[in-house]
Amino acid sequence: MRNLFFALLGVFSVVFHANAKVISVGKSKQFTSIQKAIDFSKNGDTVMVFPGLYKEGNIIIQKSITLLGRGYPVLDGENKYAIISIKAKNALVKGLKLQHTGRSEIRDLGAIMVYDSDSVSVINNILDDTNFGVYVQNSKKCTIKGNSITAYGKDEVQSGNGIHCWHSDSLTIIGNKIKGHRDGLYFEFVKNSLIEKNISTMNVRYGIHFMFSNQNTYIANVFERNGSGVAVMYSKKIHMYKNHFLNNWGDAAYGILLKDITDSDISGNFFTENTVGLHMEGCSRIKLSRNTFNNNGWAVKIQASCDNNDLTKNNFTGNTFDIGTNGSLVLNTFNGNYWDKYEGYDLQRDNIGDIPYHPVSMYSMIIDSNPAALMLFRSLIVTLLDKTEKILPGVTPENLKDNKPVMKKLPL
């Protein structure tokens, strides 16, 4: 009986192997057209594409196959078409170079379009001059990994997003490099996903933009020099760890803008050289801990509409303004942070300052209500006002204070 079982297993595996063919595409190969090879293939086959330039319009994959590029064959969309459309289970696209997708006002055209699919993987492709890069719609458990996605977008209306996900679940997006799109990463109604180690730079609008996307985790991504930084809205249970928000410098640029984000955890991130490092509006129950705010204009702008947020053990160094706010109502707590502007003392030598630190300066309140007061930036009168206010708080919210500021920079 046992032997029979193994024999049967052996037979099945041979049959399976016999089924999983490799179909080659290229000049002087079995097929010269990728689409024909795909049409010929069956579930489980591999379509191997050899180097060359392929102009086939829109290639459609509706089977569980692997589309594998050898030495980065070039698939050209001739500025007219979406290049690959996938509507399948377990399909894999790997090692292709896709370039010059079309642009359309009516339909979203992109290099790799994934519709209503399950477990599709898009790995190690090079996308150049694309409208949308990878476009995922209504799909589950897809993996987008190690792609390099470049566009040359000039304005918001004319360009698409690098990785665009809509109404999807359990996506894994790892190690992609995205550049020059409208939004580097875009999520709408996406949940339970992991976004890790992506680099999103120099996009026209946002490095990452998500709305109504709950329970996602963002780890060790880099968002640098995007037109307006990063904006995320209307989501719950967001986890952000060890991300870098760098050099988003401009009139309306934010390291990250949080609007109506609730029950989230943002820790270990780096906010460096942004006009506003972190902007919070209508946020509740967010834990902000162990973040580093360095050389920003405003490190944190926390609007009075935020409540129950908790800033603990963060480092604030070299920021022009540590905290900005727009009202006197304070429903958030600040505890145990390091502030380089703290001038208090520590008699017990327990590394906790003995007097509270008020991180909101008078001038930042003035600027907030009256932006034209910029003219007095770094003038003697402003310095004097700030000092007076520190001693006798009148205008700045008295309750916005760190009761236990630490004396030494936290090792993060």
Binding site: D251, S369, N370, A372, M375, L376, F377, R378, S379
Partner: protein, 255 residues
């Protein structure tokens, strides 16, 4: 005229105060650059010092110098010399020696630690501030023959430009909060040489983006070559106009 200029310069350079001023500046700039973690931060700290110290020293030293050389001026006036050339040489002597002091004291450290456009801009504005405040001092000294009153006036003028003017601007801002004041601010900044220099340097340091719309307006106006030229013309006008007024007064004055 050249001879008087030479006498004045030699006299001032020999004066211990200017030497002390030079060393003070040198000490401050070197320590600021060495203490701060980055050269840019050092430059920012230096900016605050320069904007307060230079006007103060220049205006008070020049006023006192003019009063102290009253006898020398009387002697010169008794000679066949034009009053205009006496006054201009005094101005030239004061500015050149104080500019030299600034350049040695602050300019050289800036060039050593931060020799880029921002640093050069800082030196240029420091030199123009020196010139402006020497000529304002000459105006103040020409106003009255009473030394105490004259020095009081010059101290008041320093206080006005570095503090009171900004306080008035702040007051004005809050009174007219509901109006778009961005462009008015650009105009107002021309009414105070210290503000003008400060904004000019800060814009070079790319902090303008910090301040939203107002910053954009400021950068649009001051950020390009034309704006820089325009603001230096503004500073020059301050120097020239107050010098001309003081000269007119000196011409008519009964010594």
């Amino acid at each position: 005229m050249n001879k008087i200029l030479k006498y004045v310069i030699v006299d001032i350079v020999r004066n211990k105060i200017v030497l002390i001023y030079t060393f003070l500046l040198l000490l401050i700039s070197l320590s600021v650059f060495n203490l701060e973690s980055s050269a840019t931060k050092g430059l920012l700290s230096l900016l605050n010092i320069i904007l307060i110290l230079i006007p103060l020293i220049c205006i008070i030293f020049s006023t006192i110098y003019i009063y102290n050389s009253a006898e020398f001026i009387e002697l010169l006036v008794s000679q066949p010399l034009k009053r205009k050339s006496i006054w201009i040489s005094l101005f030239g002597g004061l500015t050149s020696s104080l500019c030299l002091a600034f350049f040695v004291g602050a300019g050289i450290p800036i060039l050593i630690y931060h020799a880029d456009l921002t640093g050069i801009m800082m030196i240029a504005t420091g030199l123009s501030l020196t010139i402006v405040f020497v000529s304002i001092a000459m105006l103040a000294a020409g106003m009255t023959r009473d030394k105490a009153k004259g020095i009081g006036l010059s101290i008041f003028l320093w206080l006005f430009f570095s503090l009171i003017f900004d306080a008035l601007v702040l007051f004005f801002l809050f009174q007219f909060q509901d109006y778009p004041l961005e462009r008015v601010m650009v105009f107002l900044s021309f009414l105070n040489p210290i503000d003008l220099s400060r904004i000019q340097i800060l814009l070079q340091m790319d902090i303008s983006a910090l301040m939203g719309y107002t910053g954009a307006i400021f950068r649009e106006f001051f950020g390009n070559g034309f704006g820089i030229m325009f603001s230096f013309v503004g500073l020059l006008l301050w120097a020239v106009i107050s010098l001309l007024f003081s000269l007119r007064r000196f011409n008519k004055q009964d010594l």
